[in-house]
Symmetry: C2
Subunit: 557 residues, 2 copies
């Protein structure tokens, strides 16, 4: 069987100007990066076209550790919609470089549903992550520089209160907790710090929430840094940081155009985490795609309890966008998993387990309906699926009045996703989906969290630790109470307990603490432990990667 | 007076395909990055053309803290040679991002002798620095990952012996000395580490010494990391790091094409430090430029005691390249400085000080002659220069049989550098320069250092500290004795004492310790204290940088 890289490298790519021509973007406005990637100017966004285009969100049931293939479905569906006669553009996230050298590998789809050139997309791409990293770390350098600066310019920042961390797009656990400023006077002032992975930077969240350059610079200035020794809040603008940070992001703010394996335009831009941030591509990219296509297919990270909820409450609220259809990706493997299969049993056929696991998918479908949108189920096909299991699932969904179609993009590309495409068109053109927010943003932080926890997670209620209660008072004092809430929770369960698969009942969730993404425009409620800097495995994926004498990459999965 | 940025932004840039056409590079092989930058494939290197092209090295006398404008002269001379009918390409270093936000500002020439688009060149450019940073830090992550890995794959690296540091392209003094791996078992094993600025990474030196992909990967594998607990040396290849590092550098290895303000092709590639590394652009870029132009003008960092010496002993030795002419940049300001002027007196006219300071320039000219090359002096003109001072200098040089011409590229572009260009053509076409190395690479490390110290610096001899002597034994045990030596010394004096201006006599230099750039192919002899991670000033240049609502950068100098 061919690897993703072999399939991608065997593809005959079209010149990016020909891809652009398919969505009526003239070569003169393209900013090419080689022959197969280009940046697109913000001037391509046309609000009247955005209003008429149909946005399709791809989300998923609670995933197994391997993931359920949302990106593969998104790419296949984009091709499928084109085959069905709809001019469709994909709007995707940029992969993080860290996992490429770790366990997970690349994130540009799989099999015959990939975006290409996959090596570039998975490595540095057009430099957006590097720019975000640099902007983040410039602020860190300015903070430490000010802490030790002469009195005339010293803001009196208390290093112990600094919440802003450095970032690096690398799986590097040794950087999670560090001390900086060691070695005497010349090296600044000693304090504790740490590195997060770049996708977890608030700059990433900000870039993806911004609507233009001015908004970007404004949001960067709004970043909360920490307090002075006399307890005054310090923002990035107090350090005069936002202008230089925006300068570093002057190209990163522009969406990137690439193609699917079958030459369909795909816009890839931004990649914020789906727990501590909105987990979906930039507002700018989505609006641009909607300015260029009749249909836009986009995705949101993790299961719908995290990805879709944030897509609606954070991205749709901020941008005014509404999905015309929502696709919930399910797999037979994940249904078996929620029905009791262990990881080693994921490929074992079992209609019983599929039936037992359905309650997980069902809860996600109910959740989508509670937002006023009508879900379509896409069954992302694996070779281990039996006809019987699939048929059971299709029948079950149809009995609930929900369309359920097999998605075979991995093996067949868009041809394998035409049935899903047809169902999506039918739903989108029915006009029956009408997104409604579950909470009023002006209600209290506690109420907003409780609404999501009870209505989406199915919890009985919410506990707040003493630390979280103290943070709530800080939120109040910083005037952030009317921001929406981004709940950082495990993707493995509706609850805050990884082991509770299926549709857990009779549980409460505990908010451990809060973080403030004031620039991005939300507060983060942290449930349980949160990993913001992954580590490498004992035998990293980097071991097998190399470059041959023609400069072609080998061993990248 | 217009700023460099205003001059650069007012320029009407030509499309990069038109710039490429001037040196017969067809659009089909260009890898464009926007409309004004492109990467060039390694296949453009043609050894038979390299052999026929004339390489002109621009170096300088010992500089004042402000620098003497080598890049400005290099760019102006490139234009001047074209005006004189020679198809000429500049081969320059890439600027580091760190200083852009610090004190020094950008490094893309000045006034009417700049390379453009200067904002891009000074910020992320085509991502080469980011790629180098990532390759460097991947090795660090692999080291720390292995230190805490399970027994089957654990190499037994002794963290206390690890010489490989992380890097960031940022002026950030708080990162100079850090601890990593804090916070318990999940975060690896505690050890001391630090960040250097990216230009100081051995990866930067390696990229610039490599001749192709295979050589690059080989050199990356050769990097010396540290020792195991039982004292076995560990190299990057023991961590299986070189393949993934090379993959990260697959685009960074390709030279970048831009233009001067007057549309002359300039190749910009690589930017290693001029103290701990070779301080000049990549061998690949120089050879490519020589494959595309009749003349190539290139520069080497700091004064000729550092930049030219390393250019000859490291780069020319490794590549077989020989300069046809060498330009030594002098300024009246620097002559006054070496003649006793304080920093506040640099603009005060004084023929006496110029006369007194000439001995510094004279020593550099003698040094060039000792290498078998014939120098031309370019007097980089400042508004504070008097006719009388310039005339004295011209007469003095001519009395020594050395051509000395005024270079006014800052005010006039290439038109102001035509006299220098004529002198360079005359020297280059005379064929009288014939580079000879001052030392046999197979002589001992001590002898190689002593040769440079006595013949180039004018020292009486060399002292080695106890640490340096111990390092010499390590060099012996690692089998590195037959590598050339890169001496890391202050640029402010021929001696190791900043305060000794002019032409110091009766001094010895002290080698404090050694470092090993085994991948790059040299050992580094460290004289005095060495800054590898600058800091920001109290009021960083970043304070005044911003992006206006059209996405145009303001305040970048």
């Amino acid at each position: 069987m061919k690897t993703d890289l072999e399939i991608a490298q065997a593809a005959k790519l079209q010149h990016i100007k020909d891809i652009a021509a398919k969505i009526d973007v003239p070569e003169s406005v393209l900013e090419p990066y080689g022959h197969h990637k280009a940046k697109l100017p913000l001037s391509l966004i046309d609000d009247s076209k955005v209003a008429n285009a149909k946005l399709v969100l791809v989300t998923a049931m609670s995933p197994t550790p391997a993931g359920e293939g949302k990106t593969t479905v998104t790419i296949g569906l984009t091709e499928g919609l084109n085959l069905e006669g709809k001019k469709t553009v994909a709007a995707l996230r940029e992969p993080s470089l860290g996992p490429v050298f770790g366990i997970k590998g690349g994130a540009a789809g799989g099999g015959h549903s990939q975006v290409v050139p996959m090596e570039d997309i998975n490595l540095h791409f057009t430099g957006d992550f590097a720019a975000i990293e640099k902007a983040n770390n410039l602020l860190s350098a300015l903070i430490d520089n000010n802490i030790q600066a002469k009195a005339e310019v010293n803001l009196g920042i208390d290093g112990r209160t600094v919440r802003w961390k450095r970032v690096m797009d690398m799986n590097d656990r040794a950087l999670r907790q560090i001390t900086v400023g060691m070695g005497g006077k010349a090296n600044g002032i000693l304090r504790e710090d740490g590195f997060n992975i770049t996708a977890a930077s608030e700059i990433m969240a900000i870039l993806c929430m911004s609507t233009d350059f001015a908004d970007l610079q404004e949001r960067l200035g709004n970043i909360f840094v920490g307090y002075t020794f006399d307890k005054k809040p310090i923002y990035a603008r107090d350090l005069k940081a936002e202008g230089a940070m925006a300068a570093l992001l002057k190209d990163a703010i522009k969406p990137n155009l690439v193609q699917t394996l079958h030459g369909v335009p795909a816009i890839i831009h931004g990649g914020p985490f789906a727990n501590i941030a909105q987990g979906t591509n930039s507002i700018i990219a989505t609006k641009m795609a909607m300015s260029l296509g009749e249909y836009v297919v986009t995705e949101a990270g993790f299961g719908a309890d995290l990805g879709a909820e944030k897509f609606f409450h954070l991205k749709c609220r901020a941008s005014g966008l509404k999905p015309a259809a929502v696709v919930v990706v399910a797999t037979i493997r994940a249904l078996r998993y929620h029905g009791g299969a262990s990881l080693s049993e994921l490929n074992d056929v079992s209609v019983e387990r599929v039936e037992a696991g359905f309650e997980n998918l069902e809860k996600h479908l109910e959740n989508m309906q509670s937002f006023g949108v009508r879900p379509v189920v896409a069954v992302n096909k694996f070779v281990s699926d039996s006809e019987e299991e699939i048929q059971w699932l299709v029948n079950k969904c149809e009995s609930l009045g929900i369309k359920c179609k097999v998605s075979n993009g991995w093996a067949e590309g868009g041809e394998g996703v035409r049935e899903v495409a047809k169902a999506v068109i039918e739903e989108a053109e029915s006009g029956k989906s009408n997104l409604e927010m579950l909470y009023d943003v002006n209600s209290s932080i506690q109420d907003k969290i409780t609404t999501v926890a009870t209505r989406i997670y199915g919890a009985e209620g919410v506990e707040f630790t003493a630390k979280a209660k103290a943070d709530l008072r800080t939120i109040e004092s910083l005037g952030l109470s009317n921001l929406p809430v981004c709940i950082a929770k495990t993707q493995k369960s509706f609850s805050d307990d990884d082991s509770k698969r299926g549709r857990p009942r009779d549980f409460r969730i505990t908010i451990r603490e809060f973080e403030f993404a004031r620039g991005a425009g939300f507060v983060i409620a942290v449930v349980g432990n949160l990993m913001r800097m992954p580590g490498l495995p004992a035998e990293p994926a980097s071991n097998r990667i190399s470059v041959n004498s023609e400069g072609q990459i080998e061993g990248l999965f």
